[in-house]
Amino acid sequence: MPLGLIGHGLRAGRRPRRALPPEARLRPRYDVAIIGAGGHGLAAAYYLARDHGITDVAVLDKGWLGGGNTARNTTIVRSNYLTPEGVRFYDESIRLFRGLSGELDFNILYSERGHLTLAHTDAALRTMRWRAEVNKHLGVESEMVGLDELARLCPPLNLDRGARFPILGALHHKPGAIARHDAVAWGYAIAAARRGVEIHQNTEVTGILTEKGRVTGVETSRGRIACGKVLQAVAGSSSLLAAMAGFRLPIQTVPLQACVTEPLKPFLDPIVVSGSLHVYVSQSARGELVMGGPTDPYALYSQRSTLEWKEGLAAPMLALFPFLAEVRVLRQWAGLADMTPDFSPIMGLTPVQNYYIDAGWGTWGFKATPVCGKRMAETVATGKPPSPIAPFDLGRFAAFRQLGERGAASVGH
């Protein structure tokens, strides 16, 4: 048994040490205000403090800490993207994730289970070949695997050639991982707070104050605060907040649903994704199957669940694993996905000076939490986006310098 727990046992009976800071008074001025206390905002706060010595930071959230998409995603981490820019970026994220538990002194339960993207058509095989080649070129472990290898990597998978959409092969991405999403937010929050960052929950930003094209502060439900710089990291509400700041984003916000089953004894090691069937699944540390599918077909700012989505998920899931027919779905929920035209995020400067943006995270935000936080912190601190995130600037859309990730990002998150 690890020493930490023995210590806990010996202290049992005493009140535990407070890890997350208690609610505090909102001060009238901060150097930096970060809007959104999700994984991204908290990570940025942490790296601002750690790497740049900027600790006069307030992280503001309209709800509870990590209660937005951080709490709603399906926790998959991978870097098997299509564009070199994307692959490099997410690969850096994976490298940060690997050391994160130790770094934050908080176990985020990061588990490299391997990630299989199934191909049911020759077109899908072709895209996978492309991904595999780009990945390998950039030093990311991705390989095409045939049916024999697939049967070894995932024995319960239905490889019946007579299926309606028989599986032809797969892209195997060994570093593919899952983690405890909440723990990432909590770990960053605790570590940031330890360095002096203030976290204000239930503090909704209602307006952005600017002067001569430069941000000067934010209006909140708890009063006005002045600040030198603002970072917005509010996946699901990005366009609304940008509108408050006075600019538009090429984003459509659509609900993205997910569900879990009751706990089952472990039988599924890898994360399994089928782009053609639009479903994916992994088995959590608790034994639940965490399942997802396509985004809802229309734009909506609502976190409601639908029956249709769940029905649409079940049939293809059973095509992959027919024996799950008797397994029950225990809970379904929805997050909000800010979809960009090229399925890549938007990071960097905005038309408002000193107002920085971290948005467009569609269905791929969780896996970028550490790297985005680190690079956005650098952007806020220096006023200049560092080269790994420079290609993801907002300006690329006007110039059609898009980073086409549709083939690697549309499902499988």
Partner: protein
């Protein structure tokens, strides 16, 4: 013998004593009666441990005898987590407990319970991560203990299906309130569906006790049920669970293996209430249950729940339960009332009359088990000083049944799915449903009503309200409903013990301290408390923990309960099987009219969207040879390919040409009737999304083809755009109405001439890119002279019903010319030799016409077309890539896989999109994206194969075959 605990027969029981059912549990043989559930049959046989708990592997048995009880989930072959409390036994059923190592009785993993002090809430966040990577080694240890039941990958799924329903009012819950509501709404003329999860309606009336004398309540039950059964406009669905309520009263109701999807104009929630446990050390020992569970055992299954009972309560329900226990042959040792001064009630008086001791102002403070068996053997009863504090004194009472409840909370799930919230109400000392949306009415115990009269009256009120909402006349309002029956809960039935194990959440093995620690560590918002501790996240979804967890968390956070609020409730209510959700899993396959001819000819098919298409004809082993032969045959003689899967869209109306001018990049206004023209579609970003041809059949009539996979999208885009443009055109997707073939090769004209004598096929009369309508094999046909494969050829489109006849007649007519069918693979090769792109293969999600070297297909002078403005923007920025033809330098080299990278100076410079060995050229040809400067003929580059080897290639002019196009235009 079907159990030592079986009671003599009594009215109202659900078992058929004439039919004995034999089953096994944990390998032991047991008998029960038809109608017994797994849990009731085992209880009749004195088995009290049904499974092991999630974290500490403690013995667990019946808590609520409901399907939402984590403690009674068992394993059947191929089916995990089966609710033992509702699944009826069948002959030969093999039942196992869950979540143990070794056997249920001797769980080798149960040692962990003794180390609970070292496993505080969230312990896995606090350790196991140093040194870096340690979790990868620890995780398998945790993983081995995770989960409850097991799946069997070899299990064959059964059949499931779905049914739709439409009602004026759906009443969820067939207890007294639901029955009254259904009868009232139906009386006003509403079409009503009454859904109840039990085998028979009646709810609490069938097992609970309202008053000292049960006779009047049985009368009431008969009357309520009779009223509903007599109404022709009420449909009663028993054994069904309303699992979810979605937008606009769209209900998911599961009955057995069928999903009923029901649209209700109004919903009446009469789901009753759930008893909330008292929290004390050992409150999870088998034999400790909610009073309603004991009452159900007695009334529904004729099972004596124990020999000697202690009833702990905070209201008159407990006294009623004590009376039921006495009737069920259980000795009642004492009634422990948490209230200092219990209200007098007839039930309490009856209990006193029967000589049962009542200990007021006391609570169970610790349940202890008897010997090695897991079951409760005694309970320590202590005086309550104030909130949660216990005084000295008290006594220990031996018992093997401990019924305990401190009140109830509404079964609020369906209301909460609709947007209602659970709020803490100080006057009730409990949770109440608030903010019920329009079109939904909450009645009975779910609405906080208590006692039979008030519950029924509230049901009638809800039924009237629903009828009024439906615009029906419910008649005279009865006298103001009796509002006296308000439930009061005990405000603080939580008694922490220095040694812990006083469980708040039975699913997750969470004791009081786990929750207070979570709050003290800073997870003080109730949503954070829930996530950090996982309270309420197990199979019972917080039904038995919500009230107490809220109390503990709020107190620890120093917040008042009103501020704390409850966590979000999400569907489904009890869990929907994936099979039920999937239904029959319809996966339609689209087959062309000629499909069976392909199969007869030995075709290997491939999936193309929803379609199956012939890839080539012959055995898989000869694939490469067959594809080459089929292609060579088109070049030298005549071949026939089924192109029915191509999209077909009719555009008719005065604005037809103007519409195409906007949808596609090319120009169509001056296209002559009787000619066809290439079409290329871009999206608003200037990305190529589809191509095909547009045949002008009349001034205001075009027949446009689309790619197999893109047809539906093209049609959708057209409708979407014209919804804004409002051009005077009619757009019809006729893909399925038409089918077609392409007959191609130098002898195609001779073949066709034999069966199309009325069509002048001469080059002069019917030139390349011409379109004609005429009879082919006596079938009215559209003939298109196209050149996709690079030979003289005709696409012949006929109404789908004639497809097979057309195919047969062409094969017959071409016999003399050696006609041979060819598949998609040969067509890919033929088109590649001609340098034609396949959208989606030679283009990707960002490819512009300029990048695809198809500027020729874009009429930039047009005032507008979709994507045009984007292309203008693209023009202002330097190009980054261009699609070009290439040949491999080494004539013997094998074709690189499509999507291999082109590497220059160690960097990615491009990508191969198509590559095949050309029999005509005797070498590998292909298309590739290259930097614009490198896309000039003669430039050399390196392709890297997946194995890391590189192969040299050289840019070559397109097309590779017949550059003058003499063959296709001849």
């Amino acid at each position: 013998m079907t159990g030592e605990y079986r009671l003599p027969p009594a009215p109202g029981e659900r078992i058929d004593r004439s039919r004995t059912v034999r089953f096994t549990f944990e390998g032991g043989e047991f008998e029960g009666f038809a109608g017994d559930t797994i849990a009731s049959a085992l209880a009749a046989n004195g088995v009290s441990t049904l499974s092991r708990s999630f974290k500490y592997r403690r013995r667990r048995g019946i808590l609520a005898l409901s399907d939402r009880d984590a403690n009674t989930l068992v394993q059947l072959p191929g089916e995990p987590n089966v609710p033992a409390a509702v699944r009826e036994i069948e002959d030969g059923m093999e039942v196992l407990g869950q979540n143990y190592t070794g056997s249920l009785e001797r769980d080798r993993g149960a040692w962990i319970g003794r180390f609970s002090r070292f496993l505080p809430v969230g312990f896995y966040y606090k350790a196991f991560y140093r040194p870096s990577g340690a979790w990868q080694r620890w995780e398998p240890v945790f993983r081995a203990r995770a989960g409850l039941g097991s799946v069997d990958p070899a299990a064959v799924p059964g059949r499931f299906d779905k049914k739709y329903g439409f009602y004026d009012a759906v009443v969820v819950g067939g207890g007294p309130a639901g029955l009254a509501a259904a009868a009232t709404a139906a009386g006003a003329g509403a079409e009503v569906l009454l859904v109840d999860d039990q085998p028979a309606p009646g709810g609490s009336l069938t097992y609970a006790r309202f008053g000292v004398d049960r006779a009047s309540q049985e009368e009431e039950l008969r009357a309520l049920v009779a009223a509903v059964e007599a109404a022709p406009n009420v449909e009663i669905m028993t054994g069904a669970v309303c699992e979810g309520r979605f937008a606009d009263n769209w209900l998911s109701i599961v009955r057995g293996r069928r999903l009923h999807k029901v649209r209700a104009k109004t919903t009446i929630v009469a789901t009753g209430a759930v008893e909330q446990p008292i929290v004390f050390r050992g409150n999870d020992l088998p034999g400790t249950m909610l009073p309603s569970a004991a009452q159900r055992l007695i009334r529904h299954y004729g099972v004596r729940p124990g020999n000697r009972a202690v009833v702990a309560t905070a209201g008159r329900d407990g006294y009623a339960a004590a009376l039921d226990l006495l009737e069920g042959g259980v000795e009642v040792a004492a009634v422990v009332d948490l209230r200092q001064h219990p209200d007098p009630s007839p039930e309490a008086a009856a209990v006193a009359e029967r000589g049962i001791g009542v200990v007021a102002g006391h609570t169970p403070s610790e349940a202890r088990r008897r010997g090695r068996a897991g079951r409760v053997g005694a309970v320590r009863v202590s005086p309550i000083l104030d909130r949660g504090r216990l005084g000295k004194g008290g006594e220990t009472i031996s018992c093997d049944l401990l019924c305990m409840s401190a009140g109830t909370m509404p079964a609020a799930q369906i209301a909460c799915h609709a947007g209602a919230r659970l709020v803490y109400d100080r006057t009730l000392s409990g949770l109440r449903i608030d903010r019920v949306p329009d079109g939904m009415f909450v009645a009975g115990a779910a609405n906080g009503r208590h006692g039979l009269g008030p519950t029924i009256a509230d049901g009638r009120r809800a039924g009237r309200a629903a009828a009024q909402a439906l615009g029906l006349d419910p008649g005279e309002a009865p006298a103001a409903p009796d509002d006296s029956g308000r439930l009061r809960n005990h405000a603080w039935p939580i008694f922490a013990h220095p040694k812990g194990k006083e469980f708040v959440d039975f699913d997750e093995d969470l004791a009081v301290r786990d929750l207070t620690d979570a709050v003290h560590e800073g997870y003080d918002d109730i949503e954070l408390t829930k996530r950090y501790s996982t309270v309420g996240m197990g199979p019972s979804q917080g039904r038995y923990s919500a009230t107490n967890a809220l109390r503990v968390a709020a107190a620890a956070a120093g917040r008042s309960l009103d501020e704390a609020g409850a966590t979000t409730v999400r569907p489904p209510v009890s869990g929907e099987k994936l099979g039920v959700l999937a239904g029959r899993g319809l996966e339609p396959v689209r087959l062309t009219p000629m499909h069976h001819r392909h199969v007869e000819a030995g075709a290997r098919t491939m999936v193309a969207g929803d379609w199956l298409r012939p890839a080539f004809y012959g055995p898989e082993a000869d694939r490469d040879r067959l594809v080459e032969e089929e292609a060579a045959h088109v070049r030298s003689a005549v071949g026939l390919i089924d192109v029915s899967t191509l999209g077909g869209i009719e555009i008719r109306g005065p604005d037809a040409a103007a519409f195409l001018d906007r949808m596609y990049t090319f120009a169509y206004r001056r296209q002559p009737v009787g000619r066809l023209r290439y079409v290329l579609m871009c999206d608003a970003a200037g990305t190529i999304i589809d191509d095909g041809v547009a045949c002008r059949l009349g001034d205001g009539h075009f027949y446009v083809t689309a790619t197999t996979g893109g047809a539906d999208r093209v049609h959708r885009e057209m409708l979407w755009h014209n919804a804004q443009w409002r051009l005077d055109v009619d757009i019809a997707n006729v893909t399925a109405a038409w089918c077609g073939v392409n007959i191609a090769g130098p002898r195609s004209r001779e073949t066709l001439a034999r069966i199309a004598p009325e069509v002048d096929l001469s080059t002069e009369a019917f030139p390349y890119l011409g379109v004609r309508e005429g009879l082919v094999a006596d079938i009215p046909a559209r003939l298109l002279r196209v050149g996709f494969v690079g030979e003289l050829g005709y696409e012949i489109h006929v109404p789908a019903g004639f497809g097979e006849a057309l195919w047969d007649r062409l094969m017959e007519a071409g016999a003399a010319d050696g006609i041979r069918p060819f598949g998609v693979e040969a067509q890919r090769l033929l088109r590649l030799e001609k340098g034609h792109i396949i959208v989606g293969q030679d283009t990707d999600g960002l490819t512009t016409p300029m990048e695809a070297d198809m500027e020729w297909a874009v009429r930039r002078s047009k005032p507008f077309f979709v994507g045009g403005r984007a292309l203008d923007v693209h023009d202002r920025h330097p190009a980054t890539r261009k699609l070009a033809g290439f040949v491999l330098s080494d004539a013997d080299a094998a074709a690189p896989e499509e999507c291999c990278l082109i590497i220059r100076d160690g960097e990615i410079a491009g990508r191969v999109t198509s590559a095949m060995r050309s029999p005509h050229l005797g070498r590998v040809v292909g298309l590739a994206f290259l930097p614009p400067g490198d896309a000039e003929p003669g430039k050399r580059f390196e392709i890297r194969r997946p194995d890391g080897e590189t192969v040299s290639a050289e840019v070559a002019p397109l097309p590779f075959y017949d550059p003058g196009n003499a063959r296709q235009e001849g």
